[in-house]
């Protein structure tokens, strides 16, 4: 799955959808993300893991435009992998993006959050669920299609007079919402307020809402947090289905290793804001640095192991 047959490179190197380059995020004196570089493969499920406080959510907030990175470049590629020339061009001309007919390059660090979602098509969910609790489940999914519907309603003018173009667009949007309700098993609760749903259903609704904005990259911040084992299993199925049926690439932060090891093609491990491991789940699982970060060992032991494995160089692609 993770290896592209063409040239033997792992997919995240051969056809990346997101390239994070030398990302720094400083809050005053605190360096939350320290020179982080990694790639997310198109069509992959990529997991970003690490101990608490490692900077995972900060990376997410940088990618989705909620934070402006202190330094670094975040390249999102629509259609196909961008050539170095294209990336250099869009960086040089100072624009937010360079969009062609079948491909586009977006520099996410230059975009405000709503454009990251609306134009670059990166959707996200939140660690602490952020639904519109006072609106119904269906309304939540309609709000997610805001930009498309706004254009269809003629920026409210056509909609105000109920012109047929708007009615049709509204029907199509409802149909899409129904499709996602069916996908996450919430069709029966469509007309209930989102705040009335049980926790697991709220998590699924948040994913459905993000998918209604038709993203090409879906960022999930701890989607399995607070789910029971059965719900975790259903989540795995749902994420696989999203990838298989919609070709959406998925980047997720997760602590639940059963989810991470089960579904991801590619795992990036953070600790103290730096990348300590990057590769297939199998490779990462056996990486002594990861084991040290998670289980904790004496500093001496870590240094010993590092010296032994000569891991002080960048371990990118160690498992490929």
């Amino acid at each position: 799955m993770a290896t592209s047959p063409a040239n033997g490179l792992p997919r995240w190197d051969a056809d990346p959808i997101l390239i994070v380059e030398h990302l720094f995020m400083r809050f005053g004196g605190l360096i939350a993300v320290n020179d982080l570089s990694f790639k997310v493969g198109r069509g992959d499920i990529t997991a970003l893991i690490g101990p608490n406080g490692a900077g995972k959510t900060t990376v997410f907030n940088c990618i989705t435009g909620f934070y402006k990175p202190s330094e670094g470049r975040l390249i999102l590629a629509h259609g196909r992998a961008p050539t170095p020339g294209e990336i250099a061009e869009v960086t040089r001309i100072g624009e937010r993006s360079l969009v062609g007919r079948n491909a586009g390059v977006f520099l996410l660090e230059r975009m405000p959050d709503y454009r990251v979602s609306g134009e670059a098509k990166v959707a996200r969910t939140f660690q602490n669920i952020r639904l519109f609790t006072g609106m119904t489940v269906l309304e939540n999914l309609m709000v997610a299609q805001h930009n498309a519907l706004m254009a269809a309603s003629g920026y409210s003018l056509k909609g105000l007079f109920g012109l047929p173009g708007w009615t049709k667009a509204q029907k199509a949007a409802t149909a899409k919402a129904e499709y996602w309700l069916d996908k996450v098993g919430l069709t029966d609760r469509a007309d209930d307020p989102a705040g009335d749903l049980p926790y697991g259903a709220q998590r699924r609704l948040e994913i459905a809402r993000a998918m209604c904005s038709e993203p090409i990259l879906l960022c999930l911040d701890e989607p399995a947090a607070g789910l029971n084992p059965r719900e975790s299993l259903e989540l795995n199925t749902l994420l696989r289905a999203i990838r298989a049926e919609h070709g959406t690439s998925i980047l997720l932060i997760e602590h639940d290793m059963s989810v991470v090891m089960e579904i991801s093609d590619h795992v990036v491990v953070l600790d103290y804001g730096t990348k300590i491991s990057d590769g297939t789940p199998q490779a990462v699982k056996n990486d002594p640095r990861v084991i040290a970060a998670y289980l904790g060992v004496d500093e001496d032991a870590v240094e010993e192991v590092e010296a032994e494995l000569q891991l002080d160089t960048n371990p990118t692609g160690a498992g490929a």
Partner: protein, 477 residues
């Protein structure tokens, strides 16, 4: 006998009521005595030019007595430990009444509003006699419209705006300044005849007043986009005051505190309401009456209010309206879904301000005179109170609240009968605000989320279910 014992037994077996109730009432009575003793028991009087003390033991006794017996009564009835606690947590009486009457209540209210002048005229027996009631109707409808306009900003978008009166003022001054402008009058006099501008000014200025106010809504909206909650409230309050102070101090432009008088009156689409041969009465073959204009104004404000309601209801079902409500629920989630919160907030400010501008234009044409005195913070506070009392986001609740508040305030002016109770020295109008305050506190205790606390979903798949007010957020900015 056995039956009787069986009947009396359960209360005896339950908690003893009278003793603790009496004890509690006694303690509260003593506290009241301690508090009221210095406050009510003494009165400062002037005796021979010097300040002296008088004592009012009877009044003190009456007050403490009211507290003591009131507390005792409550202890024995409402607060009695034997009283079954109300397990009812579902929709309240008003909500249920709303669902039962649901489909009928809106057409009924609308029909009443349309027929109101006729009802007033027939019940009071004449055009001139009905003037007071129809004027009251106009006042209430103006506040219904203002409430609906502010409801867009506060109720839907969740942006607490304490300076709504600014847009009301912009609308009123737009009409007052344009309609009394000599150059514009001369310009149109050259084109269409001398009386053109006086006859048509209102109808031409009405949309312009809305547009100007909407633009002002955006101008004032820009600086406050990043503010939330208390800060937003304070800054919008300041904007309301700034507009009023500018109106007072920019004497060259607005004529300052003296205001602008002799503003052209409303016409029946170009036909003036006067006794002349070209007037409304002569053309329609009616005997002239100044009431024609008042009744016409009533229908103008009714139409404007209905336009506000229609647009708001339609906008709520459009993406922009849903985005407003989503913004109230969670701004960060909105941004994660690609909603530009800046334009969404500005559109809410502008739409709300536009209706405020329409209402302001109507105010100017009805009164024929505007001055900064009409646009004080009290008006903003009153409109906000109507929105909060009605239930934020609810159309019908706001309309009922406006009728109750404005109508109630007027009714309290007419408490002459209380003089028969309390004697001729009693001035009931002094107690107007006190009674009004009590009523508001009572409603907020009884229905903390306003008269209509449920939210009506904008779209549904199978069944329209009202969303409980507990889940609906109030917005944070």
């Amino acid at each position: 006998m056995a039956v009787q014992t069986a009947e009396t037994a359960p209360p005896a077996a339950a908690n003893p009521v009278l003793g603790p109730a009496f004890k509690d009432a006694l303690i509260v009575g003593l506290i009241a005595l301690g508090l009221f003793g210095p406050l009510i028991g003494f009165e400062t009087v002037i005796i021979d030019g010097a300040l002296g003390l008088a004592y009012r033991p009877s009044l003190l006794a009456i007050m403490v007595g009211i507290i003591f017996f009131g507390r005792l009564l409550l202890n024995l009835t409402l607060w009695s430990p034997n009283r079954k606690p109300s397990t009812h947590t579902g929709p309240t009486l008003f909500d249920r009444a709303g669902t039962v009457m649901g489909p009928g209540v809106k057409p009924a209210l609308l029909a009443f509003a349309v027929l109101f002048p006729a009802i007033a005229i027939f019940s009071l027996g004449g055009l001139n006699e009905s003037r007071y009631l129809i004027d009251l109707g106009i006042l209430i409808l103006t506040y219904v419209m203002l409430g609906w306009g502010l409801n867009i900003v506060v109720g839907l978008a969740g942006l607490l705006d304490l300076g709504y009166v600014a847009f009301y003022a912009v609308g009123a001054y737009t009409y007052a300044l344009l309609a009394t402008s000599a150059p514009i009058n001369d310009f149109f006099a050259g084109l269409f005849g001398a009386t053109f501008w006086a006859n048509w000014a209102f109808w031409i200025c009405l949309p312009m007043a809305g547009i100007f106010a909407g633009v002002w809504g955006m101008i004032l909206g820009f600086p406050v986009l990043r503010l939330r909650g208390d800060y937003l409230a304070i800054v919008t309050l300041a904007f309301g005051e700034i507009i009023r102070l500018v109106l007072i101090n920019w004497v060259d432009f607005t004529n300052g505190g003296a205001g602008i008088a002799s503003i052209p009156r409303a016409t029946f689409f170009g036909i003036p309401f006067n006794a002349g041969p070209d007037g409304f009465a002569a053309l329609f073959g009616l005997p002239f009456s100044p009431m024609h204009r008042i009744i016409f104004l009533y229908f103008v404000i009714l139409a404007l209010a209905l336009l506000t309601a229609f647009v708001t209801v339609r906008l709520r079902r459009l993406p922009v309206g849903r985005a407003w409500e989503a913004l109230r629920e969670d701004e960060i989630a909105c941004r994660s879904l690609g909603i530009n919160t800046t334009t969404t907030k500005l559109s809410a400010f502008a739409t709300g301000a536009m209706f405020g501008g329409f209402a302001g234009c109507f105010f100017a044409v009805r009164a024929g005179f505007v001055s900064p005195e009409s646009f004080t913070f009290d008006v903003s506070a009153m409109i906000l109170a109507i929105v909060v009392l009605g239930g934020m986001g609810s159309q019908i609740g706001v309309a009922v609240a406006a009728a109750v508040m404005m109508g109630g305030m007027e009714m309290l002016r007419n408490l002459g009968f209380l003089k028969q109770v309390f004697g001729n020295d009693f001035d009931p109008s002094l107690y107007r605000m006190l009674i009004f305050g009590f009523a508001m506190v009572a409603i907020m205790v009884w229905k903390p989320r306003g008269l209509v606390s449920t939210r009506d979903p904008t779209i549904f798949l199978k069944e329209r279910k009202a969303v409980s007010g507990d889940l609906v957020k109030e917005g944070h900015g």
